[in-house]
């Protein structure tokens, strides 16, 4: 019997800031939406995140940042994925990202940026619509 593929998503906190309220909430929402969620915990380097994502064979990496370090850290994750020939793993970001930075992030290869105020359900809906298990 062919089993329906289930989405596997990694929720990761790059950088040093410890504000994981958003990351933890989204991890729960993903679980409640029926995804398998791999949570990395805090204080991860982009390299650690990418290695974990590859070993876990996730379809999507969701990065969360609230301390202004997204400008360096988010694109860095995408860059390392490319170096590791794993650019088929989609990356999106969430947290405090100023409007002006969003086009820059997208250009760097992030698929979507979710800013505060986005409902959990709409994030889940976006994932369902845009991320297909590979």
């Amino acid at each position: 019997m062919v089993q329906k593929r289930r989405l596997r998503v990694m929720v990761a906190k790059p950088g040093l800031d410890g504000h994981d309220r958003g990351a933890r909430i989204i991890a729960r929402a993903f679980r409640d939406a029926g995804f398998e969620v791999v949570y990395t915990g805090l204080h991860q380097t982009p390299e650690q995140i990418v290695d974990a994502a590859i070993q876990e064979d996730v379809d999507l990496i969701g990065l969360s940042s609230l301390a202004g370090a997204h400008r360096y850290l988010f694109p860095r994750v995408v860059e390392i994925l490319r170096e590791r020939k794993a650019e088929d793993i989609m990356v999106c970001g969430g947290g405090i990202v100023p409007e002006a930075d969003i086009p820059v992030m997208k250009k760097a290869g992030l698929k979507e940026i979710f800013t505060p105020g986005t409902t959990l359900d709409s994030i889940v809906a976006w994932v369902n619509a845009n991320v297909k298990p590979r």
């Binding site: 933890r24 915990g41 204080h43 202004g68 405090i96």
Partner: protein, 561 residues
């Protein structure tokens, strides 16, 4: 005993209230209310009206009393803001020490009466700017401090013998404090003259803010070292600011904020007592730091309950004799998590209400968030509006003319009682678990907060809780706010500066100082003097923290969701 309502009076009032209730029934009021259930932002149900029945057991002397008298419900100073206004202390920090120094001078010129330093993430986590882990974060959310020279640049030209300084730093608090003391001494100012606060509250880091370095037990030991050193040598310094702010930001309810914060206070007291210190020697130097969130009345009640509870904890539980030990003095910051990126000017209004609640609750100092704080480090203009907000409350609104103006309100007193009762029940639970350290180890507070945060987010998503401009009255247009852009060069400049200092210092002396620090960590003697010597020998922040990491090990995120 002095019950507020004697039996006869109460019976008469009750009759009247019963009559009124009957009347409402006949009007079918129940069926035409706006909401099925009215509740606070913490999901506490709120009744239609509060009346004497809600404070029937109230004893004026026991529960309310007068300011500066036990149980301090109404405030800790005898004349409160009629004597001196609260300290308007705006958190500032960005880029390099020189950048922040400029901002400090500006704030002092604008009438600010105390300084408050925000550090960047690498500093907060005990890494120097040249560390691999600091990439992309140097100077981003606060000022980067690597060496004593940075500390000297940060306070250059500021009268640190007159102005007090608050420093929001936790795992490396002892190191940063040592730098501050060393900086003062290099300027010829004695350590017993300087005044200020280091946040230095590690327990709430494990519970909520997650800025941690070493495991809980050695972390608390370092905190206790600073308490001991402060008590003996830096008497005007507040060595811990026991913080509920971050607990609330992590998504707790008002009661959880109250209970976990005071629970942390109890744990620090117990540790200092184990050191052989007398409670009345150190307790007066403990200060607190709360969040002022959206629900106006619940917040006011929370501040009043906190004071009354701490008074009881100190007097009854720890048998403190000095009334100063009974005082709960606190700093307040308006709720960063309540700000919205959408329609950012609304944030000024939110902050105003929150600031008002803090003042009505009797805060000793206050930081008001800037309207753009949710997006980035505030611009000067935004920071000025935030400061003006406080000045308007203080000098135009009239709310500072009398003490505890809301005291005696049926609603406020009832809420105050409820919050106290529920928070004490949580503290009891923590005691039953063997104290805060074991509760943290069992992830009890972490889990409770995670649950509350998820519940609230779901309520916002479903529209049960309103966030103006986000899930109601939303507009599609975006109002551009001016954003502060940081100099991208700053990381390189900061690294160069640190490297220069590293090259020029006396490495033999440095080695010797760091070895003494390590010995002190291992032998459980107070680390503060060895630290002061080390930073004077230009040991960097990270070098000192690496000694901690080496001796005590590193704590890793338990990953509670």
């Amino acid at each position: 005993m002095a019950l507020t309502f004697d039996k006869k009076v109460f019976e008469d009032i009750k009759k009247a209230e019963d009559r009124w209730t009957e009347k409402l029934k006949s009007l079918k009021v129940d069926t035409c209310e706006r909401l099925e259930r009215f509740s606070t932002v913490s999901d506490r149900p709120i009744d239609r009206i509060y009346s004497p029945k809600d404070i029937r057991e109230q004893d004026f002397d026991r529960d309310i009393g007068f300011p500066a008298e036990f149980p301090f419900t109404r405030g800790v100073q005898p004349n409160m803001y009629r004597g001196r206004l609260w300290t308007m202390r705006m958190f500032a920090g960005l880029g390099t020490a020189r950048d922040t120094n400029k901002r400090f001078h500006l704030l002092v010129k604008e009438g600010q009466t105390g300084l408050s330093t925000a550090f960047d993430m690498p500093t907060l986590m005990g890494y120097d700017s040249d560390s691999q882990r600091a990439r992309g974060e140097c100077g981003k959310c606060g000022v980067a401090i690597d060496t004593l020279k940075d500390m000297e640049d940060l306070f250059e030209g500021l009268p640190i013998d007159k102005i007090t300084t608050s420093m929001t730093i936790n795992p490396p608090a002892s190191v940063v404090w040592a730098m501050y003391i060393a900086m003062a001494e290099n300027r010829g100012i004695d350590r017993n003259v300087i005044g200020g606060t280091i946040q230095n509250d590690m327990l709430k880091e494990f519970i909520a803010q997650k800025t941690f370095m070493c495991p809980p037990i050695p972390s608390v030991r370092l905190v206790t070292d600073t308490v001991e050193f402060g008590t003996r040598e830096v008497p005007r310094w507040n060595t811990i600011s026991i913080s509920g702010y971050h607990i609330r930001e992590a998504g707790s309810t008002a009661v959880q904020e109250l209970a976990f914060t005071l629970g942390d206070g109890i744990a620090y007291t117990q540790e200092a007592l184990k050191r052989g210190l007398d409670v009345d020697d150190f307790a007066p130097r403990f200060s607190f730091f709360f969040n002022s969130h959206l629900d106006f009345f619940e917040e006011i009640a929370k501040f009043r309950a906190a004071r009354r509870m701490w008074g009881k904890i100190m007097k009854d539980r720890f048998k403190a004799k000095n009334p100063r030990s009974w005082w709960l003095r606190f700093h307040t910051q308006t709720a960063g998590c309540s700000l919205t990126a959408q329609q950012p000017y609304n944030n000024v209004v939110r902050t105003t209400l929150q600031a008002l609640a803090a003042v009505l609750g009797g805060t000793q100092s206050l930081h008001t968030n800037s309207l753009d704080e949710v997006l980035a480090i505030p611009t000067e203009e935004a920071a000025t509006i935030a400061l003006r907000t406080q000045q308007i409350i203080a000098e135009e609104s009239g709310v500072a003319n009398t003490i505890d103006p809301v005291g005696g309100s049926y609603f406020i007193e009832k809420l105050t009682n409820q919050l106290e009762e529920e928070a004490f029940a949580i503290i009891q639970k923590i005691d039953d678990m063997g104290g805060m350290l074991s509760a943290i180890e069992k992830n009890y507070p972490q889990q409770e907060i995670a649950d509350a945060a998820y519940r609230y987010q779901r309520q916002v998503d479903s529209g049960e809780k309103t966030v103006v401009g986000v899930n109601k009255y939303a507009t599609s247009e975006t109002i551009p706010v001016e954003m502060l852009e940081l100099d991208e060069e700053l990381e390189r400049l900061q690294i160069e500066k640190t490297n220069r200092i590293k090259e020029q210092r006396n490495s033999a002396r440095l080695r010797e100082c760091l070895d003494r620090l390590e010995d002190s960590c291992r032998s459980a003697t107070n680390v503060m003097q060895p630290l002061i010597d080390a930073v004077k020998a230009d040991a960097t922040l990270q070098e000192c923290c690496d000694v901690y990491r080496k001796v005590f090990g590193e704590y890793r995120d338990p990953g509670i969701y």
